[in-house]
Symmetry: C2
Subunit: 440 residues, 2 copies
């Protein structure tokens, strides 16, 4: 009875049961999520979805981050979930490559605004939603991910339903049904990585999970054993799984504490390589380079092996591009993933000199880069734990700087500072509506 | 390049290329679909979804079948697709247990109404959508279904996207992208069978596929090889597949011709058993029965093995209930799947005397029933091809009677006759709006 026990665990957990460091990490996760969602608010893919209003005529009810437009609840969760993943700059649970906030935070925000929900309840819903989806991810990783599922949306739909369920105050039966309705909508193929449809996934998971909770609240029926049933989520979507881990040490160990924040606007698996190239740039000017060899974990080439990216978005799936900008600019923010930079001559010329090599013994936050100069000199730099990993996390200062930098094209620094203050001091949030007034 | 070839096949097929018998079978499929959708329009699950309007405030834009209410495009496709599967009385492609109209027809109807689309184009879109999804189902059946996927929604989302794409006039690139956005939303677990969430599946597939085509039309990017890619639909959702069958003999053989219509309001696998019990009721009164043994295909117990159904909906997943009503009433329409009948004393007493036995050699439209009386007499009845199967299809008259019977609680017989006339004589449809005026 894995599903039932999870539901009981969720309903038994109050905000006062959650340790202070977990709450703080939840607040940081939310801040990081909010920043990248605001920052991407004017991406063409967001414009496309907003353009559907002409045909769908939705109500102007709740806020779209970073935009003047509003939409109905379900559309807002789709768009805000999507924009937060566009830069590939959102939070990552490294053990499962799951981005937990994407499917959960949009639901918390939209319901918080529409129903003027007490901020304490929102923090509880956010943390429980994230914790549950991460535990489900743990239970099916890696076979589920290796098969080709985008775990952020497939497991994320449960997090979204749980967050909404907690806010709605669903009872044990209703929340179980909600998980059934959510689980049967679990979807998202890794095949679409590198296109607009990747960030669409967490948005759709947010939307589907919210819909599940809304239906369950009104008495819609479903399976109450969706996680463990013979033809349920784990058996159908994961060749191997360890479902008992969903509930083990609930309330004692927190997966959310393993959620990490990225300094670079690309997949976390690229971070150690970029770190190394940022360091190696001190050793030589670019014109003297013969090649740069980088030993990496196998996932790096599997996920980010694009040799000739044509767009900024494709650049995020290219170790060749990412290592090049690390060396050339000393950073890899959203600016380094523009179409212009991806097609610039200096990048094109350097990326042909990047030679990644898979090493099975390397972890995902590890890399060893070797700079070979034309004159024969070599320099090595080893990254044991990439910046943004659990063992080498971003500092509060770095996180706040990231927030300000990524939101700068959309909101003033004053607003950014206000948002940082409010989210770091969650109890001082008066209402979500007031918070949202600083996001556009 | 399976996806690309499918897209080319779709775009190369004009209405005049489609044989007359295929068009007629398409019209019958549409009629059968429309009837069961109208008939279920006031089911509690429809009321629940319509109740979301309070929170979602959708526009009153297009029609909900059998209801006075209207909604936005996406909600209408969800509801109409759902209601058509509530009675489990919709069409079935027996080779794959796929119900092709459910995900496709709602899209055709909603777009037809909103944009006043030429009925010829709608018939083309409907047939191509159904044909494509059935071919995709063929390619992944049975491993995909056996694993636990509800093939109607997982493959159906492609049919929905294609129907919308044809109506929108998408070009090759756009339609390919639409299939990527659709395929990544493929979902639906068999675990939820027997609950309101089963009929939710074709509705959601209709909605997701339509959304995919709307996004692709506006330039949203995705994978253009979603069917065959390493981490695409077939490899991720089907342990075994024969993808080349998606395109083989396109335009020469039509899977849609294998679509069948059910005389009984339950899964097609129950039909031979009900046929046999309807026949055996001539042999004895119910009080003399010792037991009824029924040999069936293995899927029958897998899908409909519920021994003690409590609700009408659960009754549809019970050979014990279904065989009992076949014997007691000589039919198994929606009336025989009410909560009252499922809990009636005469049914409860007979269903304990039903003994299904799996026989691996039996096909899905085959059954052998043996009636054993208390006095030792026995009678056997063998069904080689159940009513509603390809080899024993419902007659036009029976199909029309079914349409009138199933819609009788919602619309007048005059309206039902008008709808039958119009759909049998498709070219006489003036506009979808006019057609829809007879559905409520």
């Amino acid at each position: 009875m894995i599903t039932n026990q999870l539901v009981k665990n969720i309903l038994d957990t109050k905000l006062e049961d959650i340790p202070e460091n977990v709450k703080q990490h939840g607040q940081k996760s939310f801040l990081n999520w909010l920043g990248v969602a605001i920052g991407a608010a004017h991406h063409p893919s967001v414009d496309i979805v907003l353009g559907l209003k002409e045909e769908l005529k939705w109500a102007e009810d709740v806020s779209i981050l970073g935009r003047k437009e509003k939409s109905d609840l379900l559309t807002a969760t789709l768009i805000n979930g999507m924009s937060s993943h566009i830069f590939d700059f959102d939070d990552t649970h490294l053990d499962t490559i799951h981005h937990p906030s994407g499917p959960v935070a949009p639901v918390v925000l939209a319901l918080g605004e529409k129903y003027d929900v007490d901020p304490d309840k929102l923090l509880l819903a956010f943390i429980l939603g994230c914790e549950a989806e991460l535990r489900i991810s743990n239970a099916v990783y890696p076979s589920h991910y290796d098969l080709g599922w985008h775990i952020t949306s497939t497991a994320g739909v449960f997090g979204s339903a749980i967050a909404a369920g907690v806010i709605f105050g669903l009872d044990e039966d209703q929340l179980s049904q909600a998980l059934g309705i959510a689980g049967t909508q679990a979807s998202g193929l890794r095949e679409v990585f590198g296109t607009m449809t990747k960030p669409f996934h967490p948005g759709k998971a947010a939307q589907n999970g919210l819909l599940a909770a809304m239906l369950a609240k009104k008495g819609f029926t479903s399976s109450k054993t969706v996680l463990e049933a013979k033809r349920g989520f784990a058996n159908v979507l994961a060749p191997e799984h360890q479902l008992e881990s969903v509930n083990i040490n609930w309330g004692k160990q927190w997966e959310l504490l393993k959620n990490s924040f990225k300094p670079y606007a690309c997949g976390i698996v690229l971070h150690p390589s970029i770190d190394a190239c940022v360091k190696l740039r001190e050793k030589s000017s670019v014109d003297k380079i013969e090649r740069i060899e980088i030993k990496v974990n196998p996932y790096v080439l599997e996920l980010t092996g694009k040799k000739e990216p044509k767009t900024g978005l494709e650049g995020k799936f290219s170790i060749y591009h990412s290592a090049s900008v690390g060396f050339l600019y000393g950073e890899a923010g959203e600016d380094q993933y523009s179409d212009e930079v991806v097609n610039s001559e200096e990048v094109l010329s350097l990326r042909n000199k990047i030679y990644p090599q898979v090493d099975e013994t390397f972890t995902e936050d590890e890399a060893l880069a070797k700079l070979v100069l034309k004159d024969g000199q070599t320099f090595e730099y080893e990254v044991k734990h990439a910046t943004g990993s659990i063992d080498n996390p971003m500092s509060d200062e770095a996180l706040q700087t990231k927030f300000k930098r990524v939101t700068a094209p959309i909101i003033s620094e004053t607003k950014a500072n206000t948002l940082i203050d409010k989210i770091y001091n969650w109890t001082e949030i008066n209402s979500v509506s007031e918070l949202l007034s600083h996001t556009k």
